[in-house]
C-alpha cells in the first residue's frame, strides 16, 4: 500500500488531537477517583451534602458517575474529530 505523504500528515494531526483529548479526560479520571475518592478523602469528608460526607460520596458514587460521563464525552469528541478528518465510516 503506497502512502501519500499528505495522508500521513493528516493521520498524525488526527492522532495528536486524539492524544490531547485522552490526556485531558484521563486527568479528570485521576482527579475524581484517586484524588477526591482517596488522597483528599479526609479533607472532603469535612464537607457534608445531606447524609453524605463528600469524600465518601466521591469514593462510592461520584467517581463512577463521572467515569460514565467521561466516556460519552470522548465518544462525542471523537465522532466530531472523525468527521473533521473524514475518517468517519
Amino acid at each position: 500500500m503506497e502512502q501519500d505523504p499528505r495522508d500521513l500528515e493528516k493521520a498524525q494531526a488526527y492522532w495528536r488531537e486524539n492524544i490531547r483529548y485522552v490526556a485531558i479526560l484521563l486527568a479528570v479520571w485521576f482527579l475524581v477517583s484517586f484524588g477526591a475518592g482517596i488522597l483528599f478523602v479526609d479533607v472532603l469528608n469535612g464537607v457534608r451534602i445531606g447524609g453524605f460526607k463528600l469524600g465518601f460520596w466521591f469514593a462510592q458514587q461520584g467517581s463512577m458517575l463521572v467515569f460514565v460521563v467521561l466516556i460519552f464525552i470522548y465518544v462525542w469528541l471523537m465522532n466530531r474529530l472523525d468527521r473533521k478528518y473524514q475518517y468517519d465510516e
Binding site: 475518592g37 482517596i38 488522597l39 462510592q60 466516556i71 470522548y74 468517519d88
Partner: protein, 575 residues
C-alpha cells in the same frame, strides 16, 4: 406449607429464565468460526453494551460485592472505583484500536503486533490462567444459589449450571453467548434493583437507593442513615462505616491494580471485537459502563441497608427469636453462632474474644430481601439474578478459553493448515473440556480461590495491559521489549503472591499470620498488580532501547490501527 413458598417461586423463575437462554441459543446457532469467535462482527452497540455488562458482572459483583462493602465500609470503594474506572481506560486506550486491528483474540494482537510466536504463547498462557481462575468462582456461585434456594446439594447445582452453559456456549459460540447475555443482563439488573428499591423505600422513604442511603431514616427520628450506621458500628467496636481501616497507599494500589486489571481482562476485551465499526466500539464501552454503573452505584446503598438491618436484627437479641432465614443460612454453614457466655443472646462485636456470630459476607445480597421481609417472589428473583450473573460470566470466559486453544494454539501455532470446519469443531470441543474443568473446580473448590482472584487481576494488569498499550501508543516498541516486559511483570506478580498469600518461601507460617508489616511499600497482594504493571512497563522500555526496532510492516500496522477509517472485518477475509 405455603404453596407459594420461596422454593416454588425459585423453581418457576429459574425454569422460565433457563428456557429463555436455551431458546436464544437455538435461535442464534454459530455457523462459522467468525460467528463462533466474534458473533459475525455485526453486534449493535446497545446489544454489545448489555452483553459486556452481563459478561463483566459476575457472581462476585452480584452476590459478593455489596456484602464485602457492607463489612468493609469506605474501603469497599476500591472495588467500586477499580471495577468501573477500568472501563474509562478501555474506552480511551484500548477498545477502538483493537477493534480497528480486527482479529479474534487478545493473543492475536500480541502475536501480530510483536511478530512473534513466543509472545503469542506467553499471551495464551496468561489468558488461560486468568480465565480458568475466574470461571471456577462462577461455577461455585451457581452451586451456592442452587443449594440455598432449591435445596439440592452443591454438586447437583454445579452440574445443572454446567449443562446449561455447555448447551449455549458450545452451540452458539460468541453469537449465542452475546444474545443470551443481553437477556441475562435484564434478569440480573431487575433482580438487583427491585429489592434495593423496596428496601430503600422501607428504610428511608426514598425510592432511589443511590440517594436513599444518604437520606434520613423514615422512622421519624430525623437521623441520617449513614450517621446511624457509623454509630452502630463504633458501638460494637468496628471502625466507623464511612472511614475504613486500610492504609491509604494500599487503597491506592488496589484501586489502580483493579482498574488496569479490568482493562486487561481478555473476556472483556474480546467483546469489542464483535461490533461493526470503531465508533461502535467506543460507544458500546460507554453504554457498557452506564449499564454496569446502575448496579455498581446501587451496591453501596444495598451494603448500608443490609448492614444496618443485619445489626438491628441480630445484635443483643435472643437466639430463639431469630427469624426463619437465620436458621436456613445456619444450615448452609454460612452463618455460625456459638453462645460463648451461655446467655442465649447473640453478641455480635468486633472483639474476637467476645464475638459469638460469624456471618459470611457472601450471603448479604441473597439474604437481604428476607432480612427486610420482602415478598417471596422477590427473594426468588434474586436467586435467578445470581444465576444469570454467574452463567453469563462463565460463558464469556469459556469462550476465551476455547478461542485460545482452537485459534491461538491449534490454528496459529500447531496446525496452520486446519480447515474452517475443523477449527470450528476444535473450538466446540475445547469449550466442552473447559466446562468440565470449570465444573470440577466448582465442585471441589481449591482452598485458595480468594488468593487466586487477586492473582487473576494482578496477572492481567502485569501482562496484557502494558503490552497492548505500548503496542498502540509506542510505535518503536519491539518484540524483545514486550516479551521481556510481560515475563518480568508476570514473574514479579507470581513471586509476590507465592510469598505473601501462600508463604511458599517460609513454609507458610508468615502468610498464615498475615504478615502485613513485611509487605513491600505497605502494598497488599491484591494491590501488587499495580507495581507489577510498572515493572512490566519499565523492563519493556529499557530492553527496547538496546534491541532492534520492529520491521516497517509492523510500524505501518500501528499507524493503521490509530485511525478509524474502514475497520477490517474481524477474522479471515471472506472467500
Amino acid at each position: 406449607m405455603d404453596p407459594w413458598s420461596v422454593q416454588t417461586w425459585t423453581y418457576i423463575l429459574v425454569a422460565i429464565t433457563f428456557t429463555l437462554y436455551i431458546g436464544i441459543a437455538v435461535w442464534s446457532k454459530a455457523r462459522s468460526t467468525r460467528d463462533f469467535y466474534v458473533a459475525g462482527g455485526g453486534v449493535s452497540p446497545w446489544a454489545n453494551g448489555m452483553a459486556t455488562a452481563a459478561d463483566w458482572m459476575s457472581a462476585a459483583s452480584f452476590i459478593s460485592m455489596a456484602g464485602i462493602i457492607s463489612f468493609a465500609g469506605y474501603d469497599g470503594a476500591v472495588y467500586l472505583m477499580g471495577w468501573t474506572g477500568g472501563y474509562v481506560l478501555l474506552a480511551l486506550l484500548l477498545a477502538p484500536y483493537l477493534r480497528k486491528f480486527g482479529k479474534f483474540t487478545v493473543p492475536d494482537f500480541i502475536g501480530d503486533r510483536y511478530y512473534s510466536k513466543q509472545a503469542r504463547l506467553v499471551a495464551v498462557a496468561c489468558a488461560l490462567l486468568v480465565s480458568f481462575t475466574y470461571v471456577a468462582g462462577q461455577m461455585r456461585g451457581v452451586g451456592i444459589v442452587f443449594s440455598r434456594f432449591l435445596e439440592v446439594d452443591i454438586t447437583s447445582g454445579v452440574l445443572i449450571g454446567m449443562a446449561i452453559v455447555l448447551f449455549y456456549a458450545v452451540l452458539g459460540g460468541m453469537k449465542g453467548i452475546t444474545y443470551t447475555q443481553v437477556a441475562q443482563y435484564c434478569v440480573l439488573i431487575c433482580a438487583f434493583m427491585i429489592p434495593a428499591i423496596f428496601i430503600s423505600i422501607q428504610m428511608t422513604g426514598n425510592p432511589i437507593p443511590q440517594w436513599g442511603f444518604g437520606s434520613t431514616l423514615s422512622d421519624g427520628s430525623g437521623m441520617y442513615l449513614l450517621d446511624k450506621l457509623d454509630g452502630l458500628s463504633q458501638e460494637l467496636g468496628f471502625s466507623a462505616y464511612t472511614e475504613g481501616s486500610k492504609s491509604r497507599v494500599d487503597v491506592l494500589a488496589i484501586t489502580l491494580a483493579l482498574m488496569v486489571g479490568t482493562a486487561g481482562l481478555p473476556h472483556v476485551i474480546i467483546r469489542f471485537f464483535t461490533v461493526k465499526r470503531v465508533r461502535d466500539a467506543r460507544k458500546s464501552a460507554g453504554l457498557a459502563l452506564l449499564l454496569i454503573a446502575v448496579l455498581y452505584t446501587t451496591a453501596p446503598a444495598v451494603a448500608v441497608f443490609a448492614r444496618t438491618n443485619m445489626i438491628e436484627t441480630v445484635s443483643n437479641r435472643p437466639y430463639d427469636s431469630m427469624p426463619e432465614w437465620f436458621g436456613k443460612w445456619e444450615a448452609t454453614g454460612l452463618i455460625d453462632f456459638t453462645d460463648r457466655n451461655g446467655d442465649g443472646v447473640i453478641q455480635y462485636v468486633q472483639d474476637p474474644e467476645r464475638n459469638e456470630l460469624r456471618i459470611d459476607r457472601d450471603i448479604m445480597v441473597l439474604a437481604n430481601p428476607e432480612i427486610a421481609r420482602l415478598p417471596n417472589w422477590l427473594v426468588a428473583l434474586v436467586a435467578a439474578g445470581g444465576l444469570a450473573a454467574a452463567l453469563s460470566t462463565a460463558a464469556g470466559l469459556l469462550l476465551v478459553i476455547s478461542a485460545s486453544v482452537s485459534h491461538d494454539l491449534i490454528k496459529k501455532t500447531l496446525r496452520p493448515g486446519i480447515s474452517e470446519k475443523g477449527e470450528l469443531r476444535a473450538a466446540r470441543l475445547s469449550a466442552v473440556v473447559a466446562v468440565a474443568v470449570a465444573g470440577y473446580f466448582g465442585i471441589h473448590p481449591p482452598g485458595f480461590v480468594a488468593a487466586v482472584v487477586a492473582l487473576a487481576f494482578g496477572l492481567a494488569a502485569a501482562s496484557f495491559f502494558p503490552a497492548i498499550i505500548l503496542g498502540i501508543f509506542h510505535k518503536r516498541m519491539n518484540r524483545e521489549g514486550a516479551v521481556a516486559g510481560m515475563v518480568a511483570g508476570v514473574a514479579t506478580m507470581i513471586f509476590y503472591i507465592l510469598k505473601f498469600k501462600f508463604g511458599v518461601f517460609d513454609g507458610g507460617q508468615a502468610a498464615a499470620a498475615g504478615l502485613t508489616g513485611d509487605w513491600w511499600f505497605g502494598i497488599s497482594p491484591e494491590g501488587f498488580g499495580a507495581v507489577a504493571m510498572l515493572v512490566n512497563f519499565a523492563v519493556a522500555l529499557v530492553v527496547m532501547r538496546f534491541t532492534a526496532p520492529p520491521p516497517a510492516a509492523v510500524q505501518d500496522l500501528v499507524e493503521d490501527i490509530r485511525i478509524p477509517g474502514g475497520a477490517r472485518e474481524a477474522g479471515p477475509a471472506p472467500h
